[in-house]
């Protein structure tokens, strides 16, 4: 067994990091990420719309209370951060927060549970955490990127939006200095704009991917264990303890990452709406 260990482990890890996909190369669709993201979106929509439709002005139920608390929390943050008038940003922030949290939460489920279940119905590969897939996070951050541009144009007009590309962050007095600083401004601005979606998506992806990987590594402790081996009796409690600790710690990470993704989106949008 011991000799087979490393080989098994590599196979196990590789197996876990492979998406259920269709298509090749650029056209590969990560069906598992899409499925779970849609499923969780549906759950989110059903809960929120269900609560909203049954919302009462009287004493609210526990679920309505919970939803209200989330809404109030996010709405407060948005009001503090975004000073313009917008009916769109708070709902966007709530959606991002809840959805990212729910997708992150899939990481809490035992890492072998759903893949093993899928295996029994004939699905070979399954990754259940959509946010541990760069396609998901990058997709979200690209949406945020386009929203940033939209809000910039909406609040400053097309001319103001475009002039800001060459007049900020370095402000200059006089025409000559302005022209001299324009290339530097343009360069910095382009880099800034490009970096935002990348950093936003990579931060979330990195955290969730690493979290998942650690769950997989913890799972490796008892991989291929047998009752005849003494190591099993040492590794099993160890796996339980490390799994417990990491899960408990990861609860904080997933919440924090969801919060960061939402907060940065709001901050970027408010920056886009403000004049420099």
């Amino acid at each position: 067994m011991a000799a087979e260990g490393p080989h098994d482990m590599t196979g196990y890890i590789k197996h876990h990091l492979e998406h259920l996909s269709s298509g090749e190369g650029f056209y590969a669709l990560h069906l598992d990420s899409i499925f779970f993201k849609l499923l969780l979106s549906l759950v989110f929509i059903l809960i929120f719309i269900g609560v909203a439709r049954r919302a009462t002005a009287g004493v609210p139920g526990k679920l309505q209370c919970f939803v209200e608390m989330v809404v109030e929390f996010v709405d407060g943050l948005v009001k503090e951060t975004f000073h313009g008038r917008s009916t769109f940003i708070a709902p966007l922030a709530i959606t991002i927060f809840c959805l990212v949290f729910m997708m992150n939460f899939m990481d809490m489920l035992p890492v072998d549970l759903l893949p093993a279940a899928a295996h029994h119905v004939g699905i070979g590969h399954l990754r259940i955490v959509p946010t541990a897939d760069l396609s998901t996070t990058l997709g979200m951050s690209i949406c945020v990127f386009f929203l940033i541009q939209y809000y910039g144009i909406k609040h400053k007009g097309l001319v103001g939006f475009l002039t800001e590309f060459v007049t900020a962050p370095f402000h200059a007095e006089g025409m000559v200095m302005k022209i001299l600083l324009a290339p530097a401004n343009l360069l910095l601005r382009l880099i800034e704009e490009a970096v935002r979606p990348v950093s936003l998506s990579l931060r979330l992806f990195g955290n969730m991917y690493a979290g998942e990987l650690i769950f997989i590594l913890i799972a490796c402790m008892t991989l291929g264990a047998s009752t005849s081996s003494g190591m099993t009796y040492v590794m099993a409690p160890l796996q339980f303890i490390s799994g417990f600790v990491w899960t408990a710690f990861h609860v904080l990470v997933i919440t924090l990452q969801a919060f960061i993704f939402m907060m940065l989106t709001v901050v970027y949008l408010s920056m886009a709406a403000e004049h420099h």
Binding site: K62, L109, D112
Partner: protein, 161 residues
């Protein structure tokens, strides 16, 4: 891949965390929710109470105003009646006083007239006596004709009446 000890331990770890959350996270969330519900319920009840109090107060005020209006009407009526009475009284008193004055004046006038008549009678009597004595060219003996004279005087007096 099948069910292995790895999956079982993963499940145990998951439930351990779930238990932890149930034990320490859930109650605080629930208590926050319940506090909120209670606060909302209390707020609504207080609002209801306030509304009811306001309605009561409004009804009360309405009642009081109505009563006051009634009382005011009553008072005005009473005052009117009283003033009418007073006017009537004053009229009665004035009439009585007037009548009294008139009767006093009448009495005065009649007594004055009596006195004047008596004086006139006296004068006429004396004039008659003087005239008669002149006619008779002699002194009427008052003594001798006293009866005659007094009778004359009485007749004049009677005549004058």
């Amino acid at each position: 891949m099948s069910i292995t000890i790895t999956l079982l331990i993963q499940g145990l770890a998951f439930f351990a965390v779930a238990w932890l959350v149930m034990q320490f996270g859930w109650p605080s969330i629930m208590s926050a929710i319940e506090t909120r519900q209670k606060k909302i319920a209390e707020g609504l009840a207080a609002a209801d109470r306030g509304q009811k109090d306001l309605d009561d107060a409004r009804a009360n005020a309405h009642e009081i105003v109505k009563e006051a209006r009634n009382k005011a009407t009553q008072i005005v009526d009473q005052a009117n009646r009283r003033s009418n009475e007073m006017v009537e009284d004053a009229k009665g008193v004035a009439i009585a006083e007037g009548e009294r004055l008139i009767s006093v004046a009448r009495a005065d006038v009649s007594s004055e007239a009596g006195r004047a008549r008596a004086a006139l009678t006296q004068e006429v009597a004396s004039l008659v006596v003087a005239g008669a004595s002149q006619l008779l060219k002699r002194e009427v003996d008052a003594k001798a004709h006293a009866d005659l004279l007094s009778e004359l005087s009485a007749r004049i007096t009677a005549e004058a009446r």
